[in-house]
């Protein structure tokens, strides 16, 4: 079964053709990072304007790269949430027009589930049940994946997403946007134990996240030092902040897996592209006798191959959208 996936929930316009949920025939991404850099973060209206400017060409390229015509595609899968409403609406509207006119079923896909499904593309032998940490600029969830179409959220953030904390701290440190790669680079050579930033456990079971306090702690640390006229070792600050995030994310993930008695864990989302996080979770998995899986970098950041993959499993579970499909900016898992 060939599925055309379409993704426009944030600042990447993407389309991909995937066979049977695992074989990626094409994966086209038009990134707007350079455009939003100037503003220090994603500007929703500018993102929407660029999505509609680029979406036809991105879909055309996904089809031509795959060597398939739209008539050969079996279904169209599209991200309908969560995300920026104006951005989502471009993909949803284009997908509805395309699927209707091509007389193909339209499959609604949850962006976060899409991230999780990137694991199946990376490793088709990695099967549910497993626990997945999905962390990106907009999301920080620990999800129990019971089957290819059943999910249960075990933990979420009470405030900022992990990637958001990276972006905000990077901005205060003057490192630029996007924060994740900038902080990782700056942290190289820094001492992760130099400053003990807070690790917060939220919720009844202590699995939930809060990164707002951590962000404030870093900002306060820098400002206090500045006021005292002290020299701040920026690499130490970056390394210590990164360590606090990595420690929190990885320990909550392992704790969730132990509680559920699940022996397979995985990462997904843009923050999963952070090398120290990948290394830490891999090590903890080994130490605890768990199987670990993580999509390659290009499948961690927003892409449409993961949407097509997720769409395949959703379709098999009977999920098809009607023509009233709308964008749902705060769609739950």
């Amino acid at each position: 079964m060939l599925i055309l996936g379409i993704e426009s929930s944030c600042d990447e316009t993407a389309a991909a053709v995937v066979r049977d949920g695992t074989e990626v025939l094409s994966n086209v991404i038009n990134s707007q990072i350079e455009i939003h850099k100037e503003y220090g973060g994603v500007v929703p209206e500018i993102a929407s304007r660029n999505h509609i400017k680029n979406i036809s060409a991105v879909i055309d390229k996904a089809l031509s790269d795959s060597g398939k015509a739209i008539s050969e595609i079996d279904a169209v899968a599209v991200t309908y949430g969560p995300g920026l409403v104006g951005a989502l609406l471009v993909g949803v509207s284009a997908a509805k027009g395309l699927a209707f006119a091509a007389k193909k079923p339209l499959i609604p896909v949850n962006h976060i589930k899409g991230h999780i499904c990137a694991n199946y593309i990376e490793n088709p032998d990695f099967k549910p049940p497993f626990i997945c940490l999905v962390a990106s600029g907009g999301h920080s969830h620990i999800v129990l994946v019971k089957s290819y179409s059943e999910y249960e959220t075990l933990a979420r953030t009470f405030d900022d997403a992990a990637g958001e904390a990276f972006d905000k701290v990077a901005r205060v440190m003057g490192l630029g946007y996007p924060g994740g790669p900038k902080i990782q680079k700056c942290a190289e050579g820094g001492n992760p134990e130099a400053i003990r930033f807070p690790r917060v456990k939220m919720g009844e079971r202590g699995f939930d996240f809060s990164f707002s306090g951590l962000k404030t702690a870093v900002i306060n640390y820098i400002h206090t030092a500045e006021q005292k006229g002290e020299q701040v070792n920026i690499s130490d600050v970056a390394a210590s902040f990164q360590e606090a995030v990595v420690d929190t994310l990885s320990s909550h993930l392992i704790d969730c897996a132990k509680l559920c008695g699940v022996e397979r864990i995985s990462l997904a989302g843009g923050v999963a592209a952070n090398a120290p996080l990948r290394a830490r979770v891999e090590r903890l998995a080994r130490e605890n006798g768990m199987e670990f899986n993580c999509p390659r970098m290009s499948l961690c950041t927003d892409n449409a191959a993961m949407i097509a993959c997720c769409g395949y499993y959703e379709f098999k579970a009977g999920s098809v959208a009607d023509l009233t499909l709308n964008a749902t900016p705060s769609l739950p898992i």
Binding site: E38, Y39, V43, E45, I46, S48, R49, I52, K53, I55, S56, A57, I59, D60, I70, V85, G86, L89, V90, G91, V92, S93, A94, A95, K96, G97, L98, A99, F100, A101, A102, K103, D322, L323, T324, L325, N326, A327
Partner: protein, 233 residues
Amino acid sequence: MLIFAADTCCMAATAALVDDTRLVAQTVVNHNKTHSQKMMPQIADMLKNADIDISDIDVFAAAVGPGSFTGVRIGVATVKGMAQAADKPCVGISTLEALANNARCFCGLLSPILDARRGQVYNALFECDGREMKRLTPDRALPLDELLSELEADGRQTAFMGDGVFVYRGEIESRLGSSAVFLPKFLSMNLAGSVGELAYEAALRGEYVSYGNLTPQYVRLSQAEQDRKEKRE
């Protein structure tokens, strides 16, 4: 030649089919629900009721703005998707021009207005001899006061139409008195039949674009770009 047209730039979600001789079908819903929920089911029902298949359509037209940024994009993205699947050319039509075309039998000035918020209206002026419209201004966003001063200076009879009339009719009447006339409600709104008719004429002139090049015409920059521009100036 069969034209499909859609317009979601204003309050109503509307789609139509226009051929060489007539308006074949038109759907208009101006109530509840977002354009995203309304437009596609309306299109599907209209095509079914008119017994028209997608493959019968030669040109896909969209009203490309100005209007609500998100509203404009819903219609344009939908039409782009349909044209891409059908592999057919597109035509983009100004929603203001389509509104003015609702009063093409009027002799005088045509002044469509849409509420552009921030004390402004989206507007373009056309002069009309009862047959042909001639564009006098580009699509623009300007304070209503400025528009009314222009029209006072011109002095000609002016027909107003568009969603902005609901908001500003009183102000217009008090400034322009009897030289302002207002279209009946059913013609004062965006209608895809008008978009289709203008697209038909554009198609005859060969003014097609590919679905990839069918793009919204917002008239205004985004707020972030505007702020940045002002900061630099």
